[in-house]
Structure formats: structure tokens, C-alpha cells
């Protein structure tokens, strides 16, 4: 270990030193070679790999959301449009203390408790790296105030965004629907449909109504921008840009003014009205009352408003025209009459003597007519005009449920009409098979009796009845009801009209049709159940009243309207088409708890017809509660 140098040997020492120095040089050269090898590995062998990584680092693809197509009525009136406004948005995972941040923001910008509630709901529904609005439609003042202080709020940004607006608010809401923020389920669906790429950059998607049915037309094509970004993700410059393609504008078959008049005609009543052009299936008005303000939903509805809407006994969120199912009541009678003629069970001149009730052979059970003492001598024409129940009890029994089922199915009862809006329900047209399946019971003769006056198992939607009315008005030639008239390219304004779809031709006997139609015209004339609603009309119109029971009346009990709670009152129906010889419009009106068709539903129909055929603005609505032409079974 010891290295003794007894005497100083400079030469030897220098030799030793130089050996070590040479070793050091070797060490240096070795390490430099290792470095060089590393550089060759990184810069030659792996160069492409790192080149790609560097490109990915600096180039970011930023989607540009397209602007959503407009929704217009048939005359070009805007039902849904976009406007540009500033929003104040928070990205949760960039914020340390959310509550403190919002409290601080509230000192600069008006943030209401409602905004906080809405934001809370958004937070629950969205991922935490998404930028979510705490306030919409900032004023210029607010934008300026925030901008001056923005350094204090990391994770909070002002963004210019396009907003959807529904200028008609509660009106037309069920028809147009609304858009809302894409939720997780919808995101997963888009992923599945391989549409997710087109929705990068889109925050909204159609949730209901037209907005949903025609999402594909309205959304447009997302554009992309290649931007160079720095490590902080800030844009440095744009490298290339593929512009978005705006969504198509939709021109609906709806007449907004007609719709407005129909909605107003309902007053405070709940209900639905569907009006169809019988010659092509265009839906002219599509009302469900009450409506709701779709604007509330766009950026997430606040909890209070949601609870109000959701828990309201009026069920404003239910699209009654599309999804409300009611007993058709006496509106079924014109179709029953046609069936009777069609199956040769009734000749036009055949008369019955109505004692005020009907009993099945061998039974003492009395099926009462709405008129206690009966209508006397009743033929087919009169049976419609006075809405004689006894006539149809007998007719239904003779037709049998199988015939009724197949004839009514032709008119679309118990089937979806195929209208271009999602969520339609099919109503119910009962059959023997159905009852066996549903109740594990055989079909009784009594079931057929009730079906005969529309109070049995059968259920219809207002849309279905309007469709059947239109088919009747058009002599059995049925066009599929539709809400979209034209698709308009928002850039070129090129319009593409939608072809109407002929659904079926029932090949009905024209004499039968003429008879039933003339009876329906008589309904709106003196002596008919809707005489009052038809009074003074300068055009002839065909109609039929109907009443849908809400609660059953026990045998021997009397239905006394004034003693029954409002919500237990019967629903009122009215179906109509006009002018009767060359129908331009066919409609069905349902007024929930409206009592009888003649007093509440028919006047609404009259106002709609007046406006549509005459351009006449309605007088203030007076709903009469007198019992003229009272009908129930």
C-alpha cells in the first residue's frame, strides 16, 4: 500500500504522472465516445421517433364548432336561432378553491343564486376538465371588468360562444324542442355511431322535438384548425384551417301564426291540438299545452325551475300531442259508421229506436246513452249528428271486435303515425289477441260495446286522431304526417323540399264517405252537437265532438259535472276538417278536463279554422259552460 520514495526521482515521477495523464486522456476519449454514440442513437437512429414526438408536442388540432342550422316555420318565421355572446367559464380542475373563486367573481360580475345552482348541476353532469359556464350573456361592462382582473382568476375565462335562442319561449316548445349540453350517455352514443369526431368542439346536442329529430341536419360539420401551441397549451399561430360547415336550416310545415292562435285559444286549459293538411300530410299546427320555456334548458336548467316543471301537476314537459293517450270517446263514431257501411252491417236508411240504453242479449246490464231518455228514431246520419251512443253499442256488437280492429288499424289507430319526431307512442287499438296477452283474459261482448263509443280499452293520441281525420277528409288517401317541409343549405340557400309519403289508400266507397262527411257537417250546424261552435261560419266544416272519461261512473250514478273536481272532469275532444268539400285542413283538439267537446274543444277548432281559412284573428275566447249538447255515455 505504501509508496515510499526514498529520494526524489524527478524523471520517474514525471513518467508516473504522464502515464496517469495518458490514462485520463483515454478516460476522456472513452466518455466522449459514449456521448457521441448517444447522440448518434438519438439523432440518427431514433430521429424519426423524436421528430414525431416534437410535432405532436407543438401541433394541436383544435376543433371549430359549426353554427347550428336555424329552424323556420313555413313562412320563414324564425323559431330557433343563434346569437353570439360572451360567457364566463370555469374549468374545475384548474381552480383551487371553487367556492372562493365564485365568491370573488361575484364581486365583479352579477352571479345570482340561480346561476350557482345551475352551475352545480352542470358540474355534476360534466367532466372536471371541461370549461363550464357560470354566467351567460355578459354585458360589455362585465367583460371589461373581468378582463382587467383576469390574472386573479386562473381557470376562469371569458369565451365568445354561439347561443341558441327560442324566441317563442313557451309557445311551440314541444314542437321545436331544445338543445342541451351533451351528457355522458349521449357522448357514448356518439362514440358508438362514430360521430364523436364531428362533435369535438360541440357542447350541445338536440334533446327533444325537432332539435333532436333533425340533429343530423342541424348540427353541421365540425371544422378543424391546426395550431402550433407552446408548452402551456397557448396558441402561437394557426398552421392550417378547415372551416366548419354550418348546419342546414329547417323549414317546417308549421304555420307559426296558426300555432300561436291555437295556443292562445286554449287559454288556461291543458291539452293538445294537431292540424294537418290532408292533401300531403304537412302538419300545420302542433300544440301541447302547457308548454315550457326551452331556453331554460340550453345551459342546464337550475334545480328550482326543473323541480317546478317536473313536479307540476300540469306536466308541462309532457308532449301531449305526441305522447298523450286518451280515450277517443265519440270521435270514434264517424269511423264506426264507415265500418258499419263498409262491412254491410248498416244501411244508410236503417233506423233504430233509442230507448236511452242498450243491453246485450240475455243481459240486464244497461249501457246508457248520454241522453237519458234516448234520441228516439235514429239512422246513421242522425247517430253522428246527435252522437247517439245506443246506435253504436248495437253496431259495435254486430261488427265484432275483429272487424273493428282491422278497420280502425287502417286509419292508423293503435299504430305510430311515423311523424318525424322522436318519442311518439302508439296509442291502443284493442283486439282479442291483445287482451289475452295483456290481461290473460278472453274478450267479452261487453268489451266491444264500450269500444263502440270510444270508452273501452282504446286509446288515441291527438296526433293519431288528427291523422285519422285527415285520412277521412282526404277520402281515405293517407299521407304520413310530417313537420319538415324543406331543408335549406345555410350557405347556398339552396332548398330541398321533402317528398311527401303516401302511407296508404283505404279505397273507401265514395257514397259512404259522402254520407259520413255530410253528417259531420251537420254536427256543426243547428241541431248538431257542435252547432254553437259552427254558428256563422262562412265555410262549411265537418266536425265531431267527443268526451273521454277520466273517472268511471258507477251503474245508476249520475255524472254531475259541478260536483266533480276539476281534474276529474272529462276530457273534451273535437275533430274537424274544412272546407268540407275540399278540405285544406284537418285537426284534432283535446282539452284536458274540458268537460264536453262542444263547449271547450270545438271553439278552439273554430278559431284555428277561421284564421287558417279566412285569415281572421280570433276574438277574446269565451268558454261557455252551459250544457247545450251535453254528451256522455
Amino acid at each position: 500500500m505504501k509508496r515510499h520514495i526514498e529520494f526524489k526521482d524527478t524523471q520517474r515521477e514525471i513518467h508516473y504522472f504522464r502515464v496517469r495523464l495518458a490514462l485520463s486522456l483515454g478516460f476522456v476519449l472513452l466518455l466522449l465516445l459514449i456521448l457521441l454514440a448517444r447522440f448518434v442513437y438519438l439523432q440518427v437512429i431514433q430521429q424519426r421517433h423524436y421528430q414525431t414526438l416534437a410535432e405532436n408536442n407543438r401541433i394541436s388540432i383544435v376543433p371549430i364548432a359549426p353554427s347550428r342550422g336555424l329552424i323556420l316555420d313555413r313562412n320563414g318565421v324564425i323559431l330557433a336561432h343563434n346569437y353570439s355572446a360572451y360567457t364566463l367559464e370555469i374549468t374545475l380542475n384548474k381552480v383551487v378553491d371553487l367556492k372562493a373563486t365564485i365568491d370573488e367573481l361575484a364581486k365583479l360580475i352579477d352571479i345570482q343564486p340561480g346561476d350557482r345552482k345551475r352551475f352545480k348541476r352542470l358540474l355534476a353532469d360534466n367532466r372536471k376538465f371541461e370549461s363550464l359556464p357560470i354566467r351567460n350573456r355578459l354585458t360589455d361592462d362585465e367583460v371589461a371588468r373581468f378582463s382587467a382582473q383576469r390574472y386573479r382568476f386562473p381557470g376562469v375565462e371569458i369565451k365568445a360562444r354561439l347561443f341558441r335562442e327560442y324566441p317563442y319561449h313557451e309557445q311551440i316548445s314541444h314542437l321545436v324542442g331544445y338543445i342541451g349540453r351533451i351528457n355522458e350517455g349521449e357522448a357514448a352514443q356518439l362514440e358508438e355511431d362514430e360521430m364523436a369526431a364531428n362533435y369535438r368542439g360541440s357542447d350541445y346536442i338536440g334533446k327533444t322535438g325537432i332539435e333532436r329529430s333533425y340533429e343530423g341536419e342541424l348540427h353541421g360539420k365540425t371544422g378543424f384548425q391546426q395550431v402550433e401551441v407552446d408548452a402551456g397549451g397557448r396558441e402561437v399561430r394557426v398552421l392550417s384551417r378547415t372551416p366548419p360547415v354550418s348546419g342546414n336550416n329547417l323549414v317546417l310545415t308549421i304555420d307559426a301564426k296558426l300555432q300561436e292562435i291555437a295556443e292562445q285559444a286554449f287559454g288556461n286549459y291543458r291539452g293538445a291540438l294537431v292540424a294537418i293538411d290532408p292533401s300531403n300530410g304537412e302538419v300545420l299546427a302542433f300544440v301541447s299545452k302547457p308548454g315550457y320555456d326551452p331556453n331554460l334548458f340550453i345551459d342546464g336548467i337550475d334545480e328550482q325551475s326543473w323541480n317546478e316543471l317536473n313536479n307540476s301537476p300540469d306536466v308541462p314537459l309532457n308532449n301531449r300531442a305526441l305522447r298523450g293517450q286518451y280515450s277517443p270517446g265519440s270521435t270514434i263514431k264517424p269511423f264506426m259508421a264507415l265500418a258499419g257501411l263498409h262491412y254491410n252491417k248498416r244501411a244508410p236508411g236503417y233506423t233504430i229506436s233509442d230507448p236511452g240504453y242498450f243491453s246485450l242479449p240475455g243481459s240486464r246490464h244497461r249501457y246508457r246513452d248520454w241522453k237519458k231518455d234516448g234520441h228516439g228514431s235514429v239512422d246513421l246520419f242522425k247517430s253522428i249528428v246527435v252522437s247517439c251512443d245506443t246506435y253504436y253499442y248495437g253496431l259495435a256488437t254486430e261488427l265484432g271486435i275483429d272487424n273493428i280492429y282491422s278497420f280502425f288499424s287502417e286509419f292508423g289507430f293503435g299504430k305510430k303515425t311515423g311523424i318525424d319526431m322522436e318519442g311518439e307512442v302508439s296509442g291502443l287499438m284493442p283486439s282479442q289477441e291483445w287482451k289475452q296477452k295483456r290481461y290473460k283474459q278472453r274478450w267479452y261482448a261487453g268489451d266491444t260495446v264500450s269500444v263502440g263509443i270510444g270508452q273501452g280499452y282504446n286509446l288515441v293520441t291527438p296526433l293519431q286522431l288528427a291523422y285519422a281525420t285527415a285520412t277521412l277528409a282526404n277520402d281515405g288517401v293517407a299521407y304520413r304526417p310530417h313537420l319538415l317541409k324543406e331543408v335549406q343549405n345555410s350557405r347556398t340557400s339552396e332548398k330541398q323540399a321533402l317528398a311527401t309519403t303516401l302511407e296508404s289508400n283505404l279505397n273507401l266507397n265514395s257514397e259512404h264517405l259522402a254520407l259520413v262527411k255530410s253528417a259531420m257537417v251537420a254536427v256543426t250546424q243547428p241541431g248538431g252537437t257542435a252547432a254553437k261552435a259552427g254558428a256563422g261560419a262562412p265555410y262549411t266544416f265537418a266536425g265531431k265532438t267527443g268526451t273521454a272519461q277520466v273517472i268511471g261512473i258507477k251503474q245508476g250514478e249520475k255524472y254531475i259535472e259541478s260536483k266533480i273536481q276539476e281534474r276529474h272532469r272529462d276530457h273534451a275532444w273535437f275533430m274537424a276538417f274544412a272546407p268540407s268539400d275540399q278540405p285544406k285542413i284537418a285537426l284534432a283538439v283535446l282539452v284536458e278536463n274540458g268537460g264536453h267537446g262542444s263547449s271547450t274543444a270545438a271553439p278552439i277548432a273554430r278559431k284555428v279554422l277561421d284564421y287558417f281559412l279566412l285569415g281572421k284573428m280570433p276574438q277574446p275566447l269565451l268558454i261557455e259552460d252551459d250544457a247545450e249538447g251535453v254528451e256522455h255515455d
Partner: protein, 365 residues
Amino acid sequence: MIKRRLWQNFIAHLDPILLALLGLLLLISLVVIYSASDGNWFRVLAQMTNILVACVALWIVANMPLHYLMRAAVPVYLLGLVLLIAVAFFGEITNGARRWLNIGVTTIQPSELMRIAVPLMMAWYFEKHEAILTLKNYFIATLLLLLPVALIARQPDLGTAILIAASGFYVLFLAGISWRVILTFLIILVASMPLAWSTLHDYQRHRIMMLLDPAQDALGRGYHTIQAIIAVGSGGVFGKGYLSGTQSHLDFLPERTTDFIFAVYSEEFGLLGNMVLLSLYLFVIMRGFVITAHASTYFTRLMAGSITLTFFTYAFVNMGMVSGILPVVGVPLPLISYGGTSMVILLLGFGILMSIHTHKKLVQT
């Protein structure tokens, strides 16, 4: 005549070869700092100032006869030691480390001083005992080295501690410490690794772990390493061109003008640029070795050899860390990175080299 005479006196103690090589490297420094700072002329001017100050230091030291330097060894070393102890007690804490000492007018980092003071002290010690070097002398020299190294490692500043330990080791190695001692020491070092690991600070462990697998924490601690490697690799053979490094100019690189300046250089000038830089460093080292080999005294040989090897070590560690073969320790790229202290210390070292070379010559002629 007088002018010329003055000029000759002025340059008498400068080594033209070394000076030319240093000049080229410093020129590269200014060029790269301009790019790395996104065209910030102030940064370039500040570096010019650093260079100017460092050159003055170089000139003064180069003209200083060596016995002055030898005389300074003990006081400078002791001063450094006292300052390091003062740091341990009164130092200011920044980023969890106690490295700086506030001396009223300014704050200083005594560990920088030790980069020169430690090899100087050790070379002085060996020169003193040149006649008969026993194991005891090596042991004492090792203690002279380990004392400041331990203090610096405790701050903690592992990078500087290791580099000072390296500079001291070079003195020991060149002074002829026996291979058996070196071997024994290495075995002890390896054996004590687990123990050393347990005394390391979390962030130091993390840096070592990161070297093994930087992707482990790609957006955290591994981020710097990964982005630097991407910069180097994407540079390719010819580089992306001056001022065109995307990694550099889009903020993906950390500490672009200081510790990670090599990534900027490498991205913009590619493998060819790297080879130029490696060659320049190699030439500087070879020139240093020539000076070392011709040094006339034991002290000057040890000093020159240590300075040269330490310079190389700095360059290697920095490039190794940027290219991902060494852990990230805070070591600037010598002569290229922005920074005043480091520049002064480096050129001071080269001043000593020149002094060693030229004063010997004067003695000979």
C-alpha cells in the same frame, strides 16, 4: 513602439491556442443564448458582460506568478470552509436547499468558490509533502476534500458536491494514489450505496429514478428530461436550423439558457453541431493536457490536470444529463450556459492554466 511593447506585455501570459478555442466556444454561447432566449438582446448583452468580467479575471490570474496562487491556497480554502459552515447555520433557504449566504450587500454561494479552492488546497498540500508521500498524506488530502464535499452535500447540492469530489479525486489520481486504494475505495462506495440511498433527499432519489425511467412521471419530474431528449433527438443530423427549434421556441424546454442550453443547441444544429462542440471541448482538454504535461512543478501539474479534467467533467455531465444518460443535476454546460459565477470560475481556471504555461516558459527563457 511603446504601444507594441505594451501589447506584447499584455498578451505575454495568454495562451493563443487555448484563447482561440475558448473564443470559439464563447461565440457559440452568445449565438445559442440569443436563440434560447427568443432573441432577447439583453440576455446576450448580459452574457457578454459575464464573459468580459471573466476575461478580466482570466487575465489577472494568468499574469499572476504561481507562488501567489500557492500562497492563496490555504486562506482561500479556509475562507470557503468557514463560509460553508456559516451557510449551514445562517444560510437562506430557497427551493428547500440552504445554499446561499447573505453577506449584506449581496448573496453568495460559497460552494462555487470551493470548485477552485479544493483542488488548489489539495495540490498545495501534495506540493508541500512532495518529497515523501505516504498513505497518511493521501488520507489527509482525502479529508481536505471530503470535509467541504460533505458540507455541500448536506445543503443539499448533490451535483456540486459530486463535481467537487471529482475535481479532488483527479488531484489524488494524478498525485499517484495507488490503484489498490482506488479499488478498495470503489468497493466501499458500491457497498455503501444502499446506505447512501437512505440518506438522500426525496428529490434526489426522484432524479435518479427518473433517469432509469423518465416516462414514469412524464408531466412531473420526468418532464424536463423527456422534453430535452425529444429536442435532441428531433434535431437529427443537420438540426432544425438556427432559431427554428420548435421544442426551444415553444417553451417545451426548461432552463433553456442555463442548464438545458445544450438541448437548444442540439435541436437547432443537430448531430453535426454536436460533433463540432465535442471537438472543441476535446481540443480544449487536449491543450490542457499538453500544458499539464509540460508543467514544471508538482503543484502546477496537479492543478492543471485537475482543472482540465474538471472542465471535461462539467461538459460531460451536462451533455449526459440533457441527452438522458445521467440524472439531472444542476450543472451548466461550461462556457456555453448563461451565468456569471460559473463563467468567472471557469475562466479563472483557464487563467491558472495559462499562468502555469507562460510562467514556466518565462522561467525557462
